[in-house]
């Protein structure tokens, strides 16, 4: 079997890894015995000795700590909120102008064809002193593309500041709240999709109540020099385990969240991606975002293809690239994310299918290793979200 394909053996790592960037928690991952892999130009932990399955389950049962410092953190800084948010609205379909202080919005950077350049989180500063500042978190693999797009689009009075001296980590799971309150009381007071600057054991930080697992939890931006200390403090709690990218992926897939480059790309519109809810009501009539013509047309007429959940019937996972066929064996779509869901206890997937066949419950065939295996269009998420509203 091709054992080496997935992860390089830890002891053999040397020259290959020298090419990769390291997050502020790299040494900690190695010390914890992580299997490291290359991801978006970074050396990242795919799993720790606990293993993907147990890490995934732990995050849903207790609390998991994730290093997501590879993601892009940046600020858009303008003279006031109206200016900064209007500048960003030229690239996204969401309402940023209407974002309240300390509120977070999930939105999409769009291209002229109405395709998605990246998905991101935008936070309006909670402090009135800083009201022209928007905090962005973008995908690691799209940082360069996003920053270039922003830089060329921004008016002269709004500046993009890339953040390079802060780590980003996530604490997710039902125990996250009780644990975070012990170090950062202000975090406990946050509702879902709210953020604030605060102190974690006296260290300045920015904390948001958000995440990529579907569980209650927080994302914490910390100066790099304090990152390891904060991580170790959290890991000292019995209920906290370090979680790698392998489980991060299975958690988000069960939660029905997209991964850019797999479920979203420059050809997919928000409507095809079943993200029509990101088009703010006001903006459905006003437009003013790239590709508005196509997007608004798809919103009213429906898109030709659409992202859906796919539940394989048996035990065999249907992975990315698996062709989806109808009862007659005709190609009707493709799996864009697929694997095993530890909380579901079976295979889960997402993909795009012809809209006419996208109703939940529709039986489909999945071409796995030349065999047509049965599956169904399934409701997303596979595991209910448990946000603290």
């Amino acid at each position: 079997m091709t054992a080496g394909r997935e992860n390089p053996n830890r002891e053999q790592r040397s020259d290959a890894e020298a090419e990769f960037e390291r997050t502020p928690l790299y040494d900690l991952h190695v010390a914890l015995g992580a299997k490291m892999v290359a991801f978006a130009g970074y050396a990242m932990p795919v799993s720790y000795p606990l293993g993907v399955m147990q890490e995934h389950l732990h995050a849903r049962n207790k609390a998991g700590l994730f290093d997501v410092s590879h993601m892009g953190q940046a600020f858009l800084v303008g003279p006031d909120h109206e200016t900064s948010s209007t500048a960003l609205e030229a690239l996204v379909p969401g309402s940023i102008v209407g974002l309240g202080p300390g509120r977070i919005r999930y939105t999409l950077l769009l291209n002229q064809d109405g395709g998605i350049v990246d998905d991101l989180m935008v936070t309006r500063s909670s402090s009135s002193d800083d009201d022209g500042r928007l905090y962005l978190v973008v995908n690691a693999s799209r940082k360069d593309v996003d920053y270039a797009l922003l830089a060329e689009s921004l008016p002269s009075d709004v500046v993009l500041q890339q953040v390079s001296d802060r780590a980003l980590m996530a604490l997710q799971g039902p125990r996250a709240d009780a644990i975070m309150r012990q170090h950062c009381p202000k975090a406990g007071g946050l509702g879902f999709m709210a953020a604030t600057s605060a102190e974690f054991d006296g260290i300045d930080c920015h904390v948001s109540r958000s995440g990529y697992t579907g569980e209650d939890g927080f994302e914490l931006s910390i100066p790099s020099k304090h990152a390891e200390r904060v991580a170790r403090t959290l890991l000292d709690h019995d209920d906290v385990e370090a979680i790698g990218l392998g489980a991060r992926d299975s958690l988000r897939l069960e939660a029905g969240f997209c991964l850019y480059g797999h479920d979203l790309d420059e050809t997919t519109s928000p409507i095809e991606a079943a993200l029509g809810w990101t088009i703010a009501k006001r903006r459905r009539t006003e437009g003013g975002f790239p590709g508005a013509e196509r997007i608004l047309r798809e919103l009213s007429d429906g898109p030709a293809r659409v992202r859906v959940g796919i539940a394989p019937e048996g035990r065999a996972p249907a992975r990315e690239g698996t062709e989806i066929v109808d009862a007659d064996g005709r190609a009707i779509g493709v799996v864009t994310s697929g694997g095993f869901g530890p909380s579901v206890g079976g295979p889960v997937a997402m993909g795009y299918v012809d809209t006419v066949l996208s109703e939940v419950g529709t039986e489909v065939g999945l071409m796995v290793r030349g065999k047509q295996l049965p599956g169904r269009v399934a409701k997303l998420p596979f595991v209910p979200h448990r946000y603290r509203r």
């Binding site: 079997m1 054992a3 997935e6 399955m53 147990q54 392998g246 035990r315 065999a316 996972p317 095993f340």
Partner: protein, 120 residues
């Protein structure tokens, strides 16, 4: 006695029948096994044919026939309990048995000492 392939399979020969599985090292590298796709009993295989798949949460890994012959038995226990591969890879979690014509291909496989070298 037990021999090994470069793809981290072990092969045990007894009375013209070889028992094949993946090594303990292989299951450690793979992580939690969630699915095993076994060949059909009665299938004729040639050395090197891709005949089975073992899947972890994250990825699928191909298993190649370590020798030529006929599949005479597959381990049904792995259908309901793929995690057995992680628990007892070289014992209860064998994958399939191949009836071989001659032992030459078996003799050509690496021995335990050579495999230990491979994985260090």
């Amino acid at each position: 006695m037990q021999r090994y392939t470069e793809d981290h399979e072990y092969v045990r020969l007894e009375g013209g029948i070889t028992t094949v599985g993946i090594t303990n090292h292989a299951q450690e590298q793979l992580g939690d096994v969630v699915f095993v796709d076994l060949p059909e009993v009665g299938k004729t295989v040639a050395k090197g044919d891709e005949i089975a798949v073992v899947e972890s949460v994250k990825a699928a890994s191909e298993i190649y026939a370590p020798l030529s012959g006929e599949i005479v038995e597959v381990n049904e226990a792995l259908t309901d309990n793929p995690a057995l591969v992680n628990e007892d890879a070289e014992g209860k979690a064998w994958f399939f048995k191949i009836k071989i014509a001659a032992s030459a291909e078996f003799e050509a496989l690496m021995d335990e000492a050579a495999y230990k070298q491979l994985i260090t």
